[in-house]
Amino acid sequence: MDPLLLLEQAFNGLQFGVMLFLIAAGLTLVFGIMDLVNLAHGSLVMIGAYLATTFIGWTDSFILGLLLAIPAMFLVGVVVEVIVLRTLYLRNHLDQVLATFGLILFFNEIIRIIWGPISLYSGLPDYLSGHVEIIPGAPYPVFRLLIIAVGLLVALAIYLIVARTRLGMLIRAGASNNEMVGALGIDIKLLFTLVFALGAVFAGLAGMMLGPLTSVEPGMGEPLLILAFVVIIIGGIGSIRGAFVAAIVVGMVDTVGRVFLPVVLRAFVSDAAADTAGPALASMLIYILMAAILVVRPRGLFPARTG
């Protein structure tokens, strides 16, 4: 087995992992504080990718495009929270799942009406489309490195916000007892809107980073949303730390598994059988991992809340 290939795949896994973390962070915060299951979180990823692609086209600058798309995502988050999600906080989880399911249909179709059904491709500026050799003999795409850097920075920023600021204190207080926070004179509605908009920005950021890697199309966030669910189940719902650890683990296992599982299987069964079973098993690997973890710890690795 080629160690350079393994290293490259480990980097890809890390990049996928931080991407998943960006999505899972908002999801787990919104669940932890507002007790809301939001299926439409994947739509925010999609909206982020479309906004960034459009703004990059307008401004003809990658950086400016992203800088415009980030406040725009914040705005989208505020609008969605105020118009729809706010009415769902007191509903049960079943109602939340179904209503946000309806929201997904709506968002996908709105995107199709505005941007058309054909996928968009957002190119990369020259300074981001090259490769660097961090380790001699293994060139790695600059843009993927950038994603890793942005993801880790955001993770650090979230940690600092939650652990060190007044907003973070309110978030933590809200997660343990939001009625009490309200009773103490904090504008809980404003806090909820702020938290949701923050989650929308992170999800949008994931979409912006994803745009140049894949095609930008309606429904692009949905497969990622389900992976993000797997991440927060493994990590423990409501726990940022759990989401981070689980995201990296899921990203690594999925990426590395897809490459090496067929190779490993060949050592045990015939080549033909390994080539058939390898990809099938690899695509199920993270779900098997999730099941195994839940057997040992039914509330995830870092259970953040009880009840």
Binding site: G102, L294, R299
Partner: protein, 321 residues
């Protein structure tokens, strides 16, 4: 069940039974096909309601069993086994086994963990279907209609229709009997207050697991019928939005009622069929974007439609079988 509810159920089923002759009189064979599909999904919705409405288990992965049933028929057909007396028992056994395994693990969790883990397991099977190159992978594969040793000819639209009808009636009878049995009382009790049932000495985990497995098995039959209806099997059958649709059928029709899911399946699938036409008729060119109206309709149903369609007919919704 009071007399009024029995009346709703009997009239509803009688209307379904009348579809083929009416379609024959008006020379509209299309409707036989359409209502066969509606009844197939009604079976799936009835099975979901058994655990969702009566058991309080919010399973978001019910389409997985449609997929298992459909692939059982498709794979056997691929290897030249078209005998329905083999295909259906295999489909039922496969769905039961998968539901048992998924239930064993999912039911260790509760609440939102349960919603997400059932969704994730269904997604796992979806990706498994995509990676099975031998059976068409992403694109799926054709499946021939099952043969029943010359007793029933499924290529005949009417005979296929009445086979589906028979399965739907059977599913309703089984569900009704289950709910009103001692077993059903325990499952419903666990929904109302699980800790109390445990304190009374009932191993609720085992009861819930049994209900979960029965529901998955029933849904597997819907899957086997769906493969026959579609004459095609693909991972799309277990796409996660399908699970969402089945849930919406249950809510739309009336959760925790016997006939509600049938009404919901009818309502949702008719809406999907005719909403584009209505929109096109209202404003030309908007028909293809019917989802933009469908989404808010679903949200409105969830927010304001307490008790579902069934509540329009019966005095009260919920828990009265």
């Amino acid at each position: 069940m009071d007399r009024r509810q029995i009346l709703v159920a009997v009239i509803g089923l009688a209307l379904f039974a009348l579809v083929p002759p009416l379609a024959g009189i008006f020379d509209q064979p299309f409707y036989v096909d359409m209502f066969a599909r509606i009844m197939i999904f009604a079976i799936a919705a009835v099975s979901l309601d058994l655990i969702l409405g009566y058991g309080g288990m919010v399973s978001f992965g019910h389409a997985a069993y449609i997929g298992v049933g459909a692939y059982a028929v498709g794979i056997l057909s691929y290897y030249g086994i078209d005998n329905g007396f083999v295909q259906f028992p295999v489909a039922i056994a496969a769905a039961a086994l998968i539901a048992l395994v998924f239930g064993l693990m999912s039911l260790r969790t509760t609440g939102v963990y349960f919603i997400m883990i059932t969704l994730a397991f269904a997604q796992m099977l979806y990706f498994l279907g995509i990676s099975l190159e031998e059976f068409g992978g992403d694109d799926g594969m054709p499946a021939y209609r099952s043969e029943f040793a010359g007793l029933i000819d499924l290529t005949d639209a009417d005979q296929f229709y009445y086979l589906v009808f028979a399965f739907l009636v059977a599913a309703l009878v089984v569900t009704h009997r289950l709910i009103h049995s001692r077993f059903g009382a325990v499952v419903r009790g666990a929904k109302a207050n699980e800790r109390r049932m445990q304190a009374m000495g009932f191993p609720t985990y085992r009861y819930k697991l049994a209900a979960f497995t029965i529901a998955g098995t029933m849904c597997g039959i819907a899957g086997a019928l769906f493969a026959n209806w579609n004459e095609f099997v693909s991972p799309d059958a277990m796409h996660w939005t399908r699970s969402g649709e089945i849930m919406i059928m249950v809510i739309m029709g009336g959760m925790g009622t016997l006939i509600g899911p049938v009404l919901g399946a009818t309502g949702l699938l008719l809406l999907e069929e005719y909403l584009p036409e209505w929109m096109e008729a209202l404003i030309a060119g908007t028909g293809e974007h019917w989802m933009v109206v469908m989404g808010p309709i679903l949200i409105a149903i969830v927010l304001f439609g307490r008790g579902g369609i069934y509540a329009l007919f019966a005095r009260r919704g919920g828990d009265d079988g």
